[in-house]
């Protein structure tokens, strides 16, 4: 693929992103602008930004590689996408948006804190966010470095530094306001890239039927319902990524920003539609690459993550390749921006509140915290591949195990208690860190089909429900009347 087209497309992408960041920076004057986009965004912006924050580089690189390796079983990571947006809307969208308005909330840990009248719960939720985002940011910087290297030929180190600098520049100057509007642009790039590549993938293999016929003739297990995985492993993905979605604070945070709560009506339609379009590449490239390898048109991949780049090099026109690589960069940058925003808020807002303090200049402290988190992430990405690999697996599972019980169920169920919430967040934090570390270090190997994230999610949910039931006498006292009204009215 000629490098000129790649470089030109990549440059256009970066310039547009920078221009949006500059525009947003001029409109960011208060902490509310920085953390909540001034509560001014519309329904389309909310849905596309939520989609862009949900999908990281994994959807474009790691996911197709996993399909290529594990077959249909890997689809269970994204299969709940048709359910999760509606589930999130029903459980949380209305409540978070209204609670944000009547209580002036800034962060997701704020919602945990006011739900249980508990600074401790808010502080623990903030700690969970900091642990998760540090690893997430580092892994995304590593991926961004690889993409920038692929486009511009900068080398890995310079790619990481350049990528981190661009994200940091627009996040620190324009905060989440810049994030939302770059997300809109980036989400559009991701959707266009995904649709075009899906069409290319189908046309190379003779349509979905031709691809299936090729695979079924040689490796029928690949297109079995669970692929090459045990049924438990595939279904466990569905459990973690289906239920865990309602505990992802970088996505939920965006509900506070919606200008008109009546627009939530169409959130599931818009979010589900855009998510499904952006995920076409995940499925299409995965199975089309497998079929191409089986037909002998492509050599077997040395590494599964090569699936998307190898497919593009073989079949895509240079301009499409450039758009897709920009789409990957977009997916990564939009996710990092969201993580930086909630991480900075945890440092400058949630942790001080947990200790009964309030920072004097939240906008300045938020910007400083953003810089520190980005530098920490870049440093980890550059220095310690092993540590990044460990931290990178924490994110989704940790968010799910800490926020699904205490936040999502807690806002839907008046019977939840403060002790139940604190215990479940504790189980989520300790269980995830301990389980993932033991597994990563090779000290303990979990049986096939068992994921730490699934196991800890079950444990934290049962802890939450069980302890809340045991301490049910406290439930009424742990719930302020205005919060109850928002939950039930």
């Amino acid at each position: 693929m000629p490098r000129g087209a790649l470089v030109a497309t990549g440059l256009v992408y970066l310039l547009v992103t920078a221009a949006i960041g500059l525009w947003a920076a001029r409109r960011t004057r208060t902490a509310s602008d920085f953390f909540l986009a001034g509560r001014t965004i519309g329904a389309w912006a909310l849905a596309i930004a939520a989609m862009a924050a949900t999908l990281s580089g994994f959807a474009f690189i790691g996911g197709p590689g996993l399909i290529y390796t594990a077959g249909l079983g890997a689809l269970f990571i994204v299969l709940p996408a048709s359910i999760t947006s509606s589930l999130t809307a029903w459980v949380l969208a209305r409540r978070l948006r209204l609670l944000g308005e009547v209580r002036g909330l800034i962060t997701i840990p704020d919602a945990v804190g006011v739900r249980y009248r508990s600074p401790t719960a808010q502080g623990l939720a903030a700690v969970a966010i900091l642990v998760a985002v540090t690893g997430y940011i580092a892994t995304n910087f590593v991926a961004l470095g690889l993409v920038i290297d692929a486009i511009f030929g900068t080398g890995r180190t310079s790619g990481i530094l350049l990528g981190a600098a661009v994200v940091l520049a627009y996040t620190v100057s324009g905060g989440i306001l810049a994030g939302i509007y770059t997300d809109l642009f980036q989400g559009a790039v991701m959707a266009v890239a995904s649709t075009l590549v899906f069409a290319t993938a189908l046309s190379t293999g003779g349509g979905i039927g031709g691809i299936s016929a090729t695979i079924m003739a040689r490796e029928p297990l690949f297109l079995g319902p669970w692929g090459t995985m045990p049924a438990l492993a595939a279904l466990s993905f569905f459990f973690v990524f289906g239920l865990g979605t309602i505990g992802q604070p970088h996505v939920l945070h965006k509900f506070y920003m919606l200008r008109d709560p009546a627009k939530l009506k169409w959130y599931p339609v818009l979010m589900t539609g855009s998510l499904m379009i952006a995920l076409l590449l995940y499925f299409g490239v995965g199975i089309a690459t497998k079929a191409a390898v089986l037909r002998g048109e492509m050599p077997p991949l040395a590494h599964p993550d090569d699936a998307t780049p190898a497919f593009l090099l073989r079949y895509a026109k240079p301009l499409l390749g450039g758009i897709v690589f920009s789409g990957v960069a977009a997916a990564i940058m939009s996710t990092v921006n969201s993580f930086l925003s909630i991480g900075a808020a945890a440092v400058s807002h949630d942790l001080p509140r947990a200790f009964g303090r309030r920072v004097a200049r939240p906008l300045l402290i938020g910007r400083i915290a953003t810089v520190i988190l980005a530098l920490l992430g870049a440093m980890l990405a550059l220095k310690s591949t092993l540590l990044v690999a460990l931290l990178g697996v924490f994110g989704w599972g940790l968010f799910a195990a800490t926020f699904v019980p205490a936040l999502a169920l807690g806002l839907a169920w008046p019977g939840a208690t403060r002790i139940g919430a604190i215990a479940s967040i504790g189980v989520g934090l300790v269980g995830t860190i301990l389980g993932e570390t033991l597994s990563w270090a090779g000290v303990y190997t979990f049986p096939r089909g068992v994921t730490v994230s699934g196991l800890v999610l079950v444990a934290s949910l049962l802890t939450f429900l069980g302890i809340s039931w045991l301490t049910r006498g406290h439930a009424a006292a742990d719930l302020d009347p205005d919060v109850r009204l928002v939950m039930e009215g």
Binding site: L72, L75, L79, P80, S82, I83, S85, S86, L87, A89, W90, V91, R94, L98, V102, G104, L105, I106, D110, V114, G207, I208, S212, A213, P220, L223, G224, P225, P230, A231, L232, L235, S236, F239, L243, P261, A262, L264, K265, P268, T272, M276, A408, L409, A412, W413, P447, R448, G449, V450, G454, V458, L462, L465, D480, P481, D482, V486, E488, G489
Partner: protein, 153 residues
């Protein structure tokens, strides 16, 4: 209460699925069935619990039941349909069990979940008058109970 009981039951099925893997050291087929049962209970139960509000019952209940039926039927077919080979007739370009997963579990909920939410929303939720009334009532309760706003602290 039914939603909460279904959620607990679903979580116990999930725990059972993982217990099976720990006890045998592998992932026995019945663990897969148990996890499928966990999904059939937990996801619709969470949806029903989330949709539970004053006057919001019927559409939520119908949507949750429909989701449970689709998940149960889809997973059961994926487990029970015969294993395919190269001669098997494709359904929509995919082997039957894969088609059930992709089109049934993956796409069918698209046809009713977002629309169910929009319909529920239109009947029971957030027009400007309702939001203002709620905000006023919350402000009154906050004054009465000495509760302060986060952004005012």
């Amino acid at each position: 209460m039914i939603a909460l009981a279904a959620l607990v039951l679903g979580l116990l099925f999930a725990a059972l699925a993982y217990l099976g893997a720990f006890l045998t050291g592998t992932a026995p087929l019945w663990s897969g069935w148990a996890m499928a049962a966990a999904l059939v209970f937990t996801l619709p139960a969470t949806l029903a619990l989330g949709g539970r509000r004053t006057g919001g019952g019927r559409i939520v209940a119908v949507t949750a039941w429909l989701l449970a039926v689709i998940l149960a039927a889809g997973f059961a077919l994926a487990f029970l349909l015969p294993v395919e080979d190269a001669a098997t007739l494709l359904w929509g370009g995919l082997p039957p069990r894969a088609a059930v997963i992709v089109y049934g579990i993956g796409l069918l909920p698209l046809l009713f979940l977002p629309w169910g939410y929009a319909r529920h929303f239109a009947r029971h939720d957030l027009d400007a008058v309702t939001v203002q009334a709620l905000a006023d009532e919350c402000a009154r309760l906050q004054r009465e109970h000495g509760i302060s706003r986060v952004d005012a602290e």
